[in-house]
Symmetry: C3
Subunit: 338 residues, 3 copies
């Protein structure tokens, strides 16, 4: 495999970027400012790394207009260097060859329909009445249960399970180990024993969503659990039954969303955050890492309750005081009145 | 498939509920108060949804005695509407046809025993000396290691792994991706390197337990990790080695329980909570979401340490003060003495 | 299978321990102080269990020098009783028979190389240009993607996936359901839609590492995600792209480490802790359970922010005060100036 090669002027032209310096500079890969070698294109998007610009060994760099003057090598000036870099880097991504067809080992229910332009890998099984669209790819070991749909161009990387009644739109990407459509956690206490509340709904995932590795999205109790289009979930996330997540929202790793919560569009949720059930978060809310949302949020903005570390001996002292904070506050109230 | 259909009088009779209104009302599905169509049965269990009762399009509703008067349509009056609804909804649950027998692709050790009335799906493997009981179901891609037992009527939905020495009772339900019996996290530092502490125990899961998707239950170091009967675990939960969980306890998603903790019966643990190792929690304790238990709890009741979000700019200010709370408290002490 | 049997003098000799009492005592298994039967060897490492020493039914016990005098039965005196016990217990661990060779069902790319002394179980698939070393074991259902390497003696227990460009050193142990090399969570907002930042790097795992069940380690965006040698990860951990973890560090269950964080050597991270991205933690740092690290840590020591539970009614009162802590502190400041 010959790696691809582009000249800088061509890249500027292709992605609508301003070229500064030698347009004939050849680019045959991408790198970080600190790690790039000659022949590679670096980028400066996060100001944290600005100090690395001067010493970069990259042959060219993608920068913003305000950083361009400090760039020691030819550069491509972009409104959003990160977006421009992402698009250019995609040229260098190894893409496994498409191989439409069904692997001989796959176990497919006779009532299922697999488009001839779909690819079904080894050890996959597909249940009754399920449909796999054109250009869809099921990597090794995927399990698609009954009454599921995988939209055109969607990819289940490997060992993905759609348990039952899961409908993926177009160009959805589901990473390894993710489980969509498992029973929601519905229990009712009946005479000292739990009885299981049937989970009759499904999961609907909009176009262009991405679901991380080992993430779980339960199917709804009655109605469906819904991800609108372009929702992005990182790894090891738990989405309870009947949750609804608005378009273009992104949740970082290890977030847990309890049943029937509704999250708006363009929300960002930091890693390890928790969102209680039966509440509503409006559009354009950011929740920072390891925060806990227990009530509806009705105004856009940033919300937090994650507490950063201190040396343990200080933390323990402060924590002990916290446990008497109400008493302390009453004492202050009394003093104020003196 | 013709969907099932029942009249309201028949349902009242079958589940011991009080009928109010036309007993001939035909029910052919269930729904939420807001979402139900004609022909469907709704329910009102969570007071949060009471306002939706008046406008429901459901043909009938399951309600408590105090809500019955406000119900605009025929109703079934239940002591616990949620329990009654769960039982009725089960009539409408699509149940995949049982298909006893072993799929041709399954890899089964000659010393394993699979009951003729069990079902083993494609791409399953079963190790030495393991036993699969009557009516048990192993969905696609399950791995049962050596010396395991799957009790009668238990279901491993798909891609479940019982690593070694895992014994499931009767009617246990294990969801996709769960891993029971992986090595506990036992390490000892020896001259600057970790050495692995052998994990010689197993996992014992009582009758009627349910284990969520991608949940992990490690096997014991010496003795077994134990779930008593009717324990309910949601998704993405971590249960360390030698943990013991009492009967009828339920843990929500993303809870982590460290090694050798003992949780009593009828406990409820909220999502994302953490329970440290080598401690004991008595019966009937509730721990709310994202709380951390670091010491034994000896009295029933509800315990918390999860902090709800504030706007980040307020949160950061309060958090900064928290880090000096001990100093603040000393200052107050001094003022009080003035 | 005849269980192995050793006399105490032999064990003392083999592991360099001091023998006190009858060296002819026969040991045919290990147990806890409380649970051991005659014929078994107990151990006392955690002072929490010291009270159980007097009443143990074990035939012998591994103890420290200071506990030896109180031991009612023959004992082996060790500098670190836990390390000594771990080594002895390994003698009693059932080890499945090695069975080199490739299962007939495995799907292996013609360009992959599997050492003849490696073992590849049923329903495994191995991608293009990947290499499986001598003595390596792939349990049932493992997926090794393109351009991966499994070093000599490494074990993928079952249903492990190496997605792409994952290189494991020697004697690495990866537990069931773990996913190494999934796409890092790289997104850029472009005109109201997310675009995916290609993840061109890989994952490098040093010798003697252990990766827990259902743990995820994403591959790097440009450079690699790296675990140095002897790193130990428990279950359900999330390691973001381009993270680097130093040698001999150990992370407990459900920890989340965001992208480009660097953790030093000999660090310990408690369960459920979160570590933000683009920061550095120096060597020999301990972070306790459910703590959140948002800034670099430059001094060794123990750091915390996990808050232990209180009765909920007290907790709620203190929490309410916390939300006005800054105001409270200002009031105190004013009082002090009076």
């Amino acid at each position: 495999m010959q790696p691809p090669r582009f000249d800088l002027a061509g890249l500027a032209d292709r992605f609508g970027l301003e070229l500064r310096g030698d347009g004939g500079t050849l680019i045959e890969g991408v790198g970080t400012l600190a790690g790039a070698r000659a022949g590679q294109l670096g980028f400066l998007a996060n100001p944290r790394y600005r100090a690395e610009l001067a010493g970069t060994a990259a042959s060219a760099v993608v920068v913003s207009a305000q950083d361009a003057a400090d760039c020691p090598v030819p550069c491509l000036v972009a409104k959003s260097p990160y977006v421009a870099f992402a698009k250019i880097a995609a040229l260098f991504e190894p893409v496994p060859a498409a191989a439409p067809g069904v692997h001989a080992s796959a176990a497919i229910d006779p009532s299922a329909h697999v488009d001839p332009a779909a690819q079904v890998g080894p050890f996959c099984s597909i249940g009754a009445r399920s449909r796999i669209g054109a250009g869809a790819v099921l990597g090794p070991g995927c399990v698609v249960g009954d009454d599921c749909e995988v939209g055109p161009g969607s990819v289940l990387v490997a060992r993905v399970t759609l348990v039952a009644r899961v409908r993926l739109g177009a160009r959805v990407r589901v990473h390894t180990g993710a489980v969509l459509g498992a029973d929601g956690f519905g229990l009712a206490m009946d005479g000292g024993h739990w009885i299981k509340v049937p989970q009759l709904g499904g999961v609907v995932v909009g176009d262009d969503c991405e679901i991380g590795a080992n993430t779980c999205i339960d199917r709804g109790a009655i109605e469906d659990t819904v991800l609108e289009q372009d929702v992005r979930l990182d790894n090891l996330i738990q989405i309870g039954h009947n949750v609804r997540i608005g378009a273009h929202s992104a949740l970082a790793g290890c977030v847990a969303v309890a049943g029937s919560a509704r999250i708006g569009a363009y929300c960002l949720v930091g890693g390890g955050a928790g969102i209680a059930g039966h509440l509503e978060i409006c559009d354009r809310v950011t929740v920072t890492a390891m925060s806990l949302v227990t009530q509806s949020i009705t105004a856009p903005g940033e919300y937090s309750s994650g507490m950063p570390v201190q040396e343990s001996r200080l933390w323990r002292r402060n924590g002990a005081r916290f446990r008497q904070l109400d008493q302390l506050a009453r004492k202050i109230g009394a003093l104020s009145k003196d």
